[in-house]
């Protein structure tokens, strides 16, 4: 889908991005699509310039989190809590399409920068507010973190080992969902505004995003009164209570193999696995003789056979690496195997390399280029914009304040002195 010199999906909609944490992803996605996203950091830099850092340098200018999620944005500093900063922000709102923010509910209202205030400055402005629980309601003012929001969505309860506390995904996800929802909600509002001239307030709840990955877990309770219990990765068959092991240790980590029977494509996959084990003299006779359609049918089988199959399969996987099981087993033999990849495996993945996924970006102040995740999606007519490094603290202050807003050098100097910029 290479299409050099192509236009972008979005015109340079002006988006003012006041979000922090995982929510900063939202502005990044709009920028990738062609919007002019300006991230507004407090003087001194955003608290989202967190670790890990490039070469472990502990330097907010080298935050990998910031690089990943603020690339393609422009960046200015501004203290919107000071009256003069507020006025400057209002000047920018006049020319903006949307404002993204993730403060606590009411914070912007307290600065007289709430939705109603912004409308008086720019009647068709769109304000997108991303918060843990939404703008109104009994939990709107709850103190929350990524983990506690995750807990409120019940998906956390479904994850982890049965004999210990439920566990989250080690890299926080709830804020990222909030950011992605922010981008979608903002675009819907822009679409509506383009059609009607009307702006609006988009009120995002990260709790609702945290409910989303539950698949059928909530309905199991609501429809059947069955409470799903976390299984540490095994497959659970509610009708029989049998747990089928599907994670197996191998020489350098773990793989998942969907060892299942009953129906296709599982029967063929499991038979293919047994055939491979036979070729290497690792399939006991009883396993070679197993009828995957009848003997390993989830609705009729018992726990002992699940355990025996699991042990036999693991004896085999322990002789191989993740890479061998994936390439030979999944790709060549079409067995339903997936490696439990770590960040090194992902970085060395053949498919990503073959699709030229990684984007290499020069940073003027670094000796070597830095690799970034490639386009989040491929669009034939309007490819995502080629990557620009995330802004340094206040990098575009002059460009935006002086060149675009026409603020004099003298006034800029005074604003800097007062710590507003």
């Amino acid at each position: 889908m290479d299409n050099p010199g192509a236009e972008t999906a979005l015109p340079p909609y002006r988006i003012l991005d006041l979000t922090e944490g995982g929510c900063i992803l939202g502005g990044r996605l709009l920028a990738d699509l062609g919007a002019d996203v300006i991230t507004i950091e407090p003087p001194g830099g955003s608290p989202s310039r967190t670790g890990p850092y490039y070469k472990d340098s502990d330097d907010p200018e080298k935050s990998l989190f910031w690089w990943a999620y603020s690339a393609n944005k422009r960046g200015i500093t501004l203290d919107i809590e000071q009256p003069e900063g507020r006025e400057l922000f209002k000047d920018m709102v006049r020319q903006a399409d949307a404002v993204l923010e993730s403060f606590g509910p009411g914070f912007l209202d307290g600065l007289e920068l709430g939705y109603g205030d912004l409308c008086r400055i720019n009647p068709d402005i769109i304000l997108t507010s991303i918060t843990p629980f939404g703008q109104n309601g009994p939990k709107a003012d709850y103190q929350a973190s990524d983990l506690t929001v995750w807990a409120s969505g019940a998906y956390l309860y479904a994850c982890g080992n049965p004999d210990r506390a439920p566990t989250w995904i080690g890299f926080p996800q709830a804020g990222l969902f909030g950011g992605a929802e922010g981008a979608i909600g903002t675009m819907m509002a822009i679409w509506h505004r383009n059609n009607t001239g009307q702006g609006q307030h988009v009120d995002i709840s990260m709790q609702e995003s945290a409910l989303s990955p539950n698949l059928n877990v909530l309905q199991m309770w609501d429809v059947s009164g069955v409470e799903f219990h976390r299984l540490g990765g095994a497959l659970f068959v509610p009708s029989t209570g049998v747990r089928q092991p599907i994670y197996f240790e191998c020489r350098d980590g773990y793989v998942m193999i969907l060892v299942q029977g009953g129906a296709e494509p599982f029967v063929s996959s499991s038979a293919g696995l047994v055939k491979w084990m036979q070729e290497e003299d690792m399939s006991p006779d009883w396993l070679s003789g197993l009828d995957w359609e009848l003997d390993y049918n989830a609705t009729t089988m018992g726990q002992p056979i699940a355990d025996s199959v699991g042990e036999a399969v693991e004896r085999f996987t322990l002789t191989k690496t993740k890479g061998e099981l994936y390439e030979e087993g999944a790709i060549k033999r079409r067995i339903l195997i997936a490696p439990v990849s770590n960040t090194r495996d992902i970085s060395q993945n053949l498919q990503l390399e073959s699709r030229n996924y990684w984007e290499k970006l020069e940073h003027a102040d670094l000796d070597e280029p830095v690799l970034y995740c490639g386009p989040f999606i491929r669009m034939s007519e309007t490819p995502l914009i080629s990557l620009k490094r995330a802004p340094r603290i206040g990098e575009h202050n002059d460009e935006i304040y002086r060149d675009e807003l026409g603020i004099s050098g003298k006034k800029l100097g005074s604003l800097k002195e007062k710590g507003i910029i």
């Binding site: 983990l147 409120s152 019940a154 309860y157 890299f171 383009n194 309905q219 699709r355 690799l371 999606i377």
Partner: protein, 416 residues
Amino acid sequence: MSVKAFEDLKVAEFAWVIVGPSTSRYLAEHGATVVRIESFKRLDTLRRTSPFADNKPTVDSSMAYGRHNPNKYSVSIDLQHPNGKKLAWELIRWADIVTESFSPGTMEKLGLGYEEVKKVRPDIIYLSSSMQGRGGPHSGYAGFGMNAVNLCGFTEVSGWPDKRPAAPHGAYTDYINARFNALALIAALDHRSRTGKGQWIEQSQFETSLHFFAPPIMDYQNNGRIMKRDGNRYAEAAPHGVFPCRGNDNWIAIAVMNEKQWLNFCRAIGQPHMAAQKEYATLPQRKKNEDELEKLVADWTGNLTPEEAEAILQQVGVPSHIVARPKDVYEDIQLKERNYFVPLDHPVMGKQSYEPQSSFIMSKTPRQIKKPSPCLGEHNEFVFKNLLGMTDEEIAGHIEDGSIPTEPTGQFKVSM
């Protein structure tokens, strides 16, 4: 009557299971007309997935399917049948957006691939979503959602350091992918409205989902550090975890994110002296002594219900929430306030609760769920007659020749 942002938008959905159907829901709950093209021969996997209303597994009684498809219409077409293909083309001519999520090459084999569609409808926006994308050695890899969770690294960093990885449940990455798709579709609509041009949007679910894991990947690429699983700990906070409460399998999540919260936390649990104690006075010290610290926290939470602990901690401004169980979310006062669960009458399943896909409320064009999930082929007449303008005789002809099947073929099998 409320206005809808996508009132006149039309979507022909060949996509199935989770990613595609969740994508179009963003549009459907904001006014778009979404028609699912389904097959009796090759049932959507979710139609065979529990739970089933009244414990009666049938094609039309799965709420796993229901959850992912309210507000949509369903037609049943045999795409292998030449006259079924004609119907598919009628729907493609009608639509603004076409979505599909089969293995790469499947739509092409049916003669319905993007290049073919483009010839007839250069302005179509066509979304193809597959696990690993077109091209490359792993393109044909069988795409179950659970596979992607492992490939993308989420499994490796879930669970405990002394245990096997505990994979995030289900098809986690599907719910990431739907969001990126919805965004790309709206951006493509914006582009089309200005230029008249359609386009092909091609998603590798693997590539998309890695954006939810980008900093740890960069940490390896730049610092050589491989991220490991570590329970519920977080480098920049302590205590930060899930702690046991009174009762069976009851838990509370607590995250003390700064020094003020630490002070308040110590007071709230009746250990004010602990705040300044040298083992715990600063974050680096709390991280160093985190095992002991977590025991002290668990001693306190163990005597309380999750709700009691949450109330005490919220009162002093410490981030905390009960680890909600499925039953809890149906009683959640905040979700009630936002009308999250929407009860609707389904012709086969009776009254069921549906959830929105959009995690947001728009002040002027709010989300709305007004139709339950469709039965398979429920809207054959409505779609072919009212939307496409076919005559009763034409429709009867398609039913007669089998290109609009109306009966399941073979025995209904539950998948899980």
